[in-house]
């Protein structure tokens, strides 16, 4: 076991009930394990300024934690998902092209407060919206959060907030609305030598983050979190 692997919590194999095959690995969950991550996602949303009781639309694959942690109705063994913890409502939009074309109309009908969009499909979504005459960027107070990987290509210009999201590492790190840096939450992740280490999930892959810079600053929204910035294209400060 390398030092990094040992820092990542070892390679214990759980007696799992559920597994997700993700690009670059597999994540297994036993009874109650998903709740840890639902709680963490709620924490991410709170740093992104998502209010309790919000209606949250998720344009990502159903096998993304942004989708499946949404509610206990979606996932067995999840006691309380985001909807149950925040009194929120979740709209599953999926990230396949044939679903993305429906989004402008769904948004018009349901008027979500927040939309979490997989960064890869943000361009496609904006294009489709323009065609259907809906400007998502300016729709009545809706916040759009782009869920970006470490190497995400530059986002189209717009007032997007960002959530760092790497599936195989189960990395969910919000770009703070207060300090502008990404928060690596205390006790959940650690930055180490150009990597981000998931401290809680034994299956989580080490996340290579070559452009990672620990700012050394602190933020009152998470005084013990590690604040980082990414030199890579997807991770700049909010526009």
């Amino acid at each position: 076991m390398t030092a990094l692997e040992s820092a990542a919590g070892g390679t214990a194999v759980m007696d799992h009930l559920i597994s997700f095959e993700v690009p670059g690995g597999e994540l297994r969950f036993g009874e109650g394990d998903l709740d840890v991550w639902a709680e963490h996602l709620v924490w991410c949303y709170s740093l992104l300024g998502v209010a309790e009781g919000s209606t949250i639309a998720v344009q990502d694959f159903g096998t993304s934690p942004l989708a499946y942690l949404g509610s206990d109705l979606l996932m067995p063994s999840l006691e309380r998902g985001v909807a149950e913890r925040m009194g929120a409502r979740i709209i599953c939009l999926d990230a396949s092209p044939e679903r993305i074309v429906l989004t402008p109309e769904v948004v018009r009908q349901v008027k979500p407060d927040v939309m979490i969009v997989r960064a890869d499909v943000l361009g496609l979504l904006l294009e489709g919206s323009k065609r259907s005459g809906v400007n998502l960027a300016t729709i009545g107070g809706m916040t759009i959060v782009a869920a970006c990987g470490i190497d995400a290509p530059p986002l189209p210009p717009g007032p997007w907030q960002r959530l760092l999201h790497v599936e195989s590492s189960l990395l969910l790190a919000p770009q703070c609305t207060l300090c502008g840096s990404y928060h690596l939450r205390e006790g959940v992740y650690r930055a180490h030598d150009g990597h981000i280490i998931n401290l809680l999930h034994p299956d989580a892959a080490l996340c290579e983050a070559p452009g990672l810079r620990v700012t050394g600053e602190t933020c009152s929204l998470g005084p013990n979190d590690t604040l980082v910035e990414l030199a890579s294209r997807g991770g700049g400060r909010p526009a």
């Binding site: 997700f20 159903g62 009908q109």
Partner: protein
């Protein structure tokens, strides 16, 4: 609910008591459920209360199925326009219908309704051979309302749920193959177009599909109706029995038994009618429009909802011995073309194509071509031309088509997905 729920049996191939009921007992029991649901909607749902008041129907006291049939049909535009007046129960999770015809309908799900679907889902999985201790490899829980209940049902049956990455688009085939190798599931649930393109892709890559699927005994195919030759082709190709599962986001749910005659309706959760354009039940052997009523007072009510799907009911006994009626959903009006005054669905054309063992499993799309004359069917078929004269003859005999314009797509890779009709401009590109 005052009507007593059927007992769970899990005896051989039988999951629960409802499968042993006579058609009369089932109809009487369903009526009790329908009466409760309608009374609840009249009481608690603004949209339905107003709709029924306008129609002059006393929905609080239905006395028989004839009373039920007086309830007016509702359509997607009605529910979209009703908005909050229909979605009064404020479910926690929403899914949207595909919306190939106009606006998508957003359908909410709450906890009680979700629970109601566990039994039918477990019943369908049981029929397909899923048992405790097995692992099911499935597609995402969030892509369809019925899929959201599948993981729950698998765990309730003592199994494990594994999910492969991405959507049902063929571009995710590599992730699926990786998942197959790692998980070694006994059971797989995915979409029909994905299975078709996966089988071809494995062949192209020189991967032995039966070897890759050697741990799998059964597969559930969703999303598109299977023709019998296509089901055989997939079962043979993967070396696992394929079962068709069908349903709608608005509440219809049906699963195939091992006789594979058409999916049996889960009559404990939905009452399904197939009606002619005048709103009357079609004669046996005829197709009509699928109309759905959910049979439980949870979630937002769906009563006599005209889905627009073209479907057929089979009420004769199935070879499996179950008397639960069966339903085949063939497609939507927009996934069909009018030939000689008759709606020809993509399924009908696939029936003729799949009858040729050399053609079965190829992607088939209807081509909308306003310049083609009346009686001319335009159809795009993947791969090189093969036995076109014989196929044209079959299409003529079976569908009354006078002439066929074939567009052989060669190696052009098109994502089949759920699309069944394309425009002529897309073929000529």
């Amino acid at each position: 609910m005052s009507a007593t729920a059927p007992q769970q049996l899990c005896d051989g191939g039988t999951y629960d008591e409802i499968e042993t009921w006579s058609p009369q007992k089932l109809r009487d029991w369903q009526f009790e459920l329908a009466r409760e649901v309608v009374a609840d909607a009249a009481e608690s749902n603004k949209f339905y209360a107003e709709r029924w008041r306008q129609a002059g129907v006393d929905a609080t006291a239905l006395s028989d199925w004839n009373d039920f049939k007086k309830l007016p049909l509702v359509s997607k535009p009605d529910l979209v326009a009703a908005g909050d007046a229909w979605t009064t129960r404020r479910g926690r999770v929403a899914f949207s219908t595909r919306g190939t015809s106009g606006e998508p309908l957003v359908v909410w799900l709450d906890g009680e309704e979700s629970q109601t679907y566990f039994v039918p889902t477990m019943r369908g999985y049981w029929w397909a051979g899923f048992r405790s201790g097995e692992t099911a490899l499935m597609q995402s829980p969030a892509w369809h309302r019925l899929a959201a209940m599948e993981g729950h049902s698998v765990l309730k049956m003592g199994g494990r749920a594994a999910y492969y990455w991405g959507s049902g688009n063929p571009q995710y085939a590599d992730y699926f193959v990786e998942a197959m190798r790692r998980v070694r599931p006994q059971f797989v649930t995915t979409t029909a177009p994905f299975l078709v393109s996966l089988l071809r892709r494995l062949g192209d890559d020189g991967v032995d599909a039966r070897e890759l699927f050697s741990s799998v005994h059964s597969m559930i195919s969703v999303g598109l109706p299977l023709t019998p030759p296509l089901r055989e082709h997939l079962s043979e190709g993967f070396g696992a029995e394929v079962f068709e599962r069908s349903g709608t986001q608005e509440g219809a749910a049906a699963d195939e038994c091992s006789a594979h005659t058409a999916p049996h309706i889960h009559a404990d959760v939905c009452h399904l009618e197939v009606l002619d354009p005048l709103g009357e039940p079609v004669a046996p052997g005829e197709r009509g429009r699928l109309v759905v009523t959910k049979l439980f007072a949870a979630g937002d009510p769906v009563v006599r909802y005209d889905t627009g799907d073209i479907a057929e009911l089979f009420e004769d006994p199935c070879a499996c011995g179950r008397e639960l009626p069966r339903l085949k959903i063939y497609g939507r009006p927009e996934s069909s073309v009018m030939i000689g005054g008759r709606a020809v669905t993509a399924y009908d054309v696939r029936m003729c194509v799949d009858a040729d063992p050399e053609l079965v499993g190829r992607m088939v799309l209807l081509v909308r071509d306003t310049d083609a004359g009346p009686g001319v069917l335009s159809v795009a078929i993947e791969g090189d031309a093969h036995n076109a004269d014989e196929l044209e003859k079959r299409l003529g005999e079976d569908l009354g088509v006078e002439k066929v314009a074939f567009y052989w797509l060669g190696n052009a890779r098109m994502a089949w997905g759920f699309r069944q009709v394309i425009d002529i401009s897309e073929v000529q590109r």
